[in-house]
Amino acid sequence: MAKRLLFYIILFSFIFAKEIELGQKLTLDSTTAVSTLLENPDTYLNKPVQIAGTVVDVCAHKGCWIEVSGDRPYETIQVKVDDGVIVFPITAKGKNVVAEGKLEKLSLSDDQALRMKKHEAEEKGEEFHEENCKLTESDKTIYRLRGLGAVIK
């Protein structure tokens, strides 16, 4: 009985320990550093790129975005996917990810940027006080990856 239990534990550990593949298969041979993308965004705009890093945050409701750490301190880039096409599991937090997608630029008005911040706060279950919110240029010009596929390790 104990041997059989051990066998199933090992079997299930093997099954569930494997990588999680989401969306399209990765096709690019090399990754581009997040810092390189954000330093020269126009070079990579609308072009397929591959990034790698740690998943530092996940959309808690729909799993429609992840925040991936960059190679420079405090830097992250968001990988956004169409709702339902890829659902990032909330358990991906802290795991390594390799993701592919196209770099996109969002140019938001003050009102749009404010609404986006409010929406993000709601998704994270945080309180949002519009009167305390001071918008910066990085809130209005956002570079993010329109995700096509990812592997979580």
Binding site: S69, I90, T91, G94, N96, G125
Partner: protein, 184 residues
């Protein structure tokens, strides 16, 4: 009529076959329908507390992080860490994320727990397994179409499709149309 007998046998047996998947898809359907209000697959709990940070100095060492983890009452291996800002660290453990403000000692722990059955149901409904399951889900959808059509002809007479059935079928088609034109 012989065709009706076969229609009913077909409807009955496909109905039996579809029970399991119908329960999975419908329960998950309700859960996923309210995705704006909750995470249908996981229970996410956040708790706030204070940690004494007087003994830690920036940059934090692995030993400091181990101390923070044990001071938070957590066990398990640290999977990774990330500095959100110069005074804010995020520490990842299996299904737990600890955010700590290194200036104030304010900590927030996020714990993730699987919703029993719902997580599995949603994973199947949202086609996470992909591969052969995609075909299985397509077959199930085709079975539902067959069940709907054969269901129309189970009964004959006043309660069948030529009587009461026609009105109820019409109403069933009308309901989504009303909502479509009302909201879209």
């Amino acid at each position: 009529m012989k065709w009706r007998k076969w229609n009913n046998i077909f409807h009955r047996d496909l109905g039996y076959l579809a029970v399991g998947l119908t329960i999975i898809y419908s329960v998950s359907g309700i859960a996923v329908n309210h995705v704006a209000d909750w995470n249908p697959s996981y229970i996410i709990e956040k708790t706030s507390f204070q940690i004494d940070i007087s003994s830690f100095q920036s940059p934090l060492t692995e030993s400091d992080i181990s101390h923070i983890v044990s001071a938070s009452g957590l066990t398990g291996t640290v999977e990774s860490t990330f500095m959100i800002s110069s005074d804010q660290i995020r520490i990842f453990l299996e299904n737990r994320t600890l955010d700590l403000n290194l200036k104030t000692g304010e900590a927030e722990l996020e714990s993730i727990e699987k919703r029993v059955f719902l997580q599995e149901f949603n994973a199947m409904h949202l086609n996470h397994p992909k591969r052969l399951w995609t075909w299985m889900a397509d077959i199930y959808a085709a079975v539902l179409i067959i069940l709907a059509i054969t269901g129309l002809f189970v009964l004959k007479g006043k309660k069948g499709i030529t009587g009461r059935g026609a009105w109820l079928t019409g109403l069933g088609i009308l309901i989504p149309l009303i909502f479509y034109f009302m909201y879209l």
